[in-house]
């Protein structure tokens, strides 16, 4: 095999790389500074920015080309796979939307709107992907994850507006932001970096062109909770990347085929284990809880696991009936007792009188809606014993629950 570097007509030019990085930083700064506010916003977003990105694309075009590192003969295959992964991504996202929620697209779908958006998004896309390809292929000849990650990080940071970072106030905001925006963006850029490493800028242009095209053109879009967006947004590009690796090296005859199957196994295992942990922790509307006391015997014994359907709004509260078993919080403990009576005070609102089936008398304090966690829908016997063995007796104030 001919070693590529001897025949590379272009030397790695650090200068050109740094000019490129600088230009990207300049565009980002202009975008996020008050300069953007001095010009009419329509003109800025839809005229000036496309001009900037097109200019950047032309500059890179004029640079002496740096070749991607994948085999030329596999280039077409890579284009096809870029398209495949884009379509799979759309399907996964839409599937998540079918479970978690769909919404109407807020984007302009008139002919004029679509054309303007194509110019706006397209110019930025082409400029960025040309830059990405130039940088990745300049900085590494082999699969260098450090380079991939650094450039992915750089592309991520120049993709997210500064205001998003500044507006973070609490830990919750930070975690949500990382989960919903930063990490998925980074994963996507990582995958895109790998695409251009193998097949040049057109691969990522195809991938993003299709995914972004769907995002801007579809009348219905998935409306995911931040955790769902995190799951889909982070895992999809990562799995694509792993899969692409396998596919490419199998085609390049550098690895044997059986590795492909174990990859699928890993992917499935990851997703399933995440979902199991999420269920146990209480991400989903139905969550498990271990029963520690005998206040609800004989129906629910200590060591049983109850499945609780979370109640989050007044509609759920109003749907509760006498005889339902609810889980509520009192003095820091979760108690699951049966509703004996519903009181509807005009001035105080609704409150519930509860009693454990096995208790001799009703619970001393009525339960307010704000303390109710959910309604018990199913009992799984005995599964909770390991948890009870771990928890010490002192953690459970029996006096409040069993009497």
């Amino acid at each position: 095999m001919i070693r590529q570097e001897k025949f590379l007509p272009t030397r790695l030019s650090k200068t050109r790389c740094f000019i490129l990085i600088l230009l990207l930083i300049i565009i980002y700064t202009v975008d996020n500074s008050s300069l953007a506010n001095n010009v009419d916003s329509f003109v800025y977003v839809y005229v000036i920015k496309p001009i900037l990105w097109t200019g950047l694309a032309l500059i890179i075009w004029r640079f002496p080309q740096i070749r991607p590192k994948g085999y030329l003969k596999l280039r077409k295959t890579l284009y096809i796979w870029a398209m495949n992964f884009a379509i799979i991504y759309i399907i996964i996202n839409f599937g998540a939307g079918l479970i978690n929620g769909l919404g109407l697209s807020p984007y302009d779908h008139s002919i004029r709107g679509i054309l303007i958006n194509i110019v706006f998004v397209g110019s930025m896309l082409i400029g960025r992907e040309l830059a990405r390809s130039y940088l990745i292929n300049s900085f590494t000849k082999e699969e260098n994850y450090l380079v991939f990650m650094l450039i992915a990080l750089f592309m991520t940071l120049t993709d997210i507006p500064l205001s998003r970072f500044i507006n973070l106030e609490s830990l919750k905001d930070l975690v949500e932001f990382i989960a919903e925006h930063l990490a998925p963006n980074f994963a996507e850029n990582l995958f895109a970096g790998y695409l251009v490493y193998l097949g040049g800028p057109l691969t990522s242009i195809i991938y993003f062109g299709i995914t972004k095209g769907f995002h801007w053109l579809s009348p219905i879009l998935p409306d995911l909770s931040w955790i769902a967006a995190a799951l889909v947004g982070i895992l999809s590009p990562v799995f694509f990347m792993i899969s692409l690796q396998n596919i490419y090296y199998t085609l390049a005859k550098q690895i044997k085929r059986h590795e492909e199957e174990s990859t699928a196994g890993w992917i499935v295992t990851s997703i399933v284990s995440i979902l199991i942990v999420w269920f146990a922790v209480g991400v989903f509307p139905i969550y498990p809880s271990v029963i520690a006391t005998g206040s609800m015997e004989p129906g629910i014994k200590p060591g049983d696991i109850i499945l609780v359907k979370r109640i989050t709004d007044m509609e759920g509260i109003n749907a509760l009936d006498v005889g339902d078993i609810i889980q509520f919080e009192r003095d820091g403990v979760l108690i699951s007792h049966r509703i004996i009576e519903i009181k509807n005070g005009d001035k105080e609102g609704t409150s519930f009188i509860t009693k454990g089936d096995n208790n001799s008398s009703i619970d001393p304090e009525p339960v307010k809606p704000a303390n109710i966690r959910g309604q018990v829908v199913k009992t799984v016997p005995k599964l909770g014993w390991p948890t009870l063995l771990i928890k010490s007796r002192e953690d459970i104030p029996l006096a409040n629950i069993e009497f």
Partner: protein, 252 residues
């Protein structure tokens, strides 16, 4: 490849922990208990009309003539059966200078404090002209007296001092700003108030008395002696802290 597996594991664990955070923060969603908003309601509990016996300042011969005829004049007032915010007054055999006083008791039957901001007079068809000759001499609300000397159709009560109608028992935001009931603070200062004073049922009701007089200069055509005139008074109340500009304040 091994490194990739390790990174994947780290990623999976990170995502699991995100889920833990999500579950934790979801638990903190509060259910806003929909408390029934307070009810603003008042009603007249009693209505009566008393004829004015004081004829000492009536020196008008016209009036003497009428008195000598011996025709008794009759007035009655009662709370409207269909709308207990209204009192219907009926008068007969009116003559210029005649006086009568409508006595009413207005009670706050809602769950929030109210203030009386206006009295609406409504004259039945056929009695519409009567408004021009029925003079409102004074209104006594509780222990305050407002004097007027205008015919009812020209009376403007909008610059009254409003009268508070308290509601016994209920503690609401508004209640905290009413004299005698202090809001409870968590700080040691200002000092905690005395325990809530026992509600006074009479506080819910105020007495309103209207003294009317027929215009002494009215002619027989304008005020017909044999005619029956009917009109109603309606109490207009607002929430205590409603200043009429749409904004509710809690600093009264």
């Amino acid at each position: 490849m091994k490194r990739a597996r390790f990174l994947l594991l780290a990623l999976v664990v990170a995502i699991m922990m995100m889920g833990a955070g999500y579950a934790y923060w979801s638990e903190r969603i509060e259910i806003k208990n929909t408390v029934n908003t307070g009810e603003l309601d008042v009603k007249f509990t009693e209505a009566d009309v008393k004829v004015d016996d004081d004829y000492e300042d009536l020196l008008d011969k016209k009036e003497e003539k009428h008195r000598s005829k011996g025709a008794p004049w009759v007035a009655k007032a009662e709370v409207d059966s269909k709308d207990n915010k209204k009192v219907v007054v009926e008068v007969k055999n009116m003559y210029p200078g005649a006086r009568f006083t409508v006595e009413t008791k207005l009670k706050n039957t809602g769950t929030i404090h109210a203030k009386l901001t206006d009295i609406e007079f409504d004259f039945e068809h056929g009695s519409k002209d009567f408004a021009k000759y029925l003079i409102l001499k004074e209104i006594k609300i509780g222990d305050k007296t407002y004097e007027s000397d205008k015919a009812v159709n020209k009376v403007d009560l909008s610059d009254w001092e409003v009268k508070l109608l308290k509601t016994s028992g209920l503690r609401t935001n508004e209640a905290e700003n009413v004299e005698g009931v202090q809001p409870e603070w968590g700080w040691p200062w200002p000092p905690k108030p005395d325990p809530e004073p026992q509600p006074d049922p009479d506080e819910d009701t105020i007495d309103i008395e209207y003294t009317f007089e027929i215009d002494r200069n009215a002619t027989e055509n304008q005020v017909k002696e044999n005619a029956t005139y009917k009109f109603s008074l309606k109490a207009i109340v607002r929430q205590l802290n409603d200043r009429g500009d749409g904004r509710i304040r809690f600093d009264e």
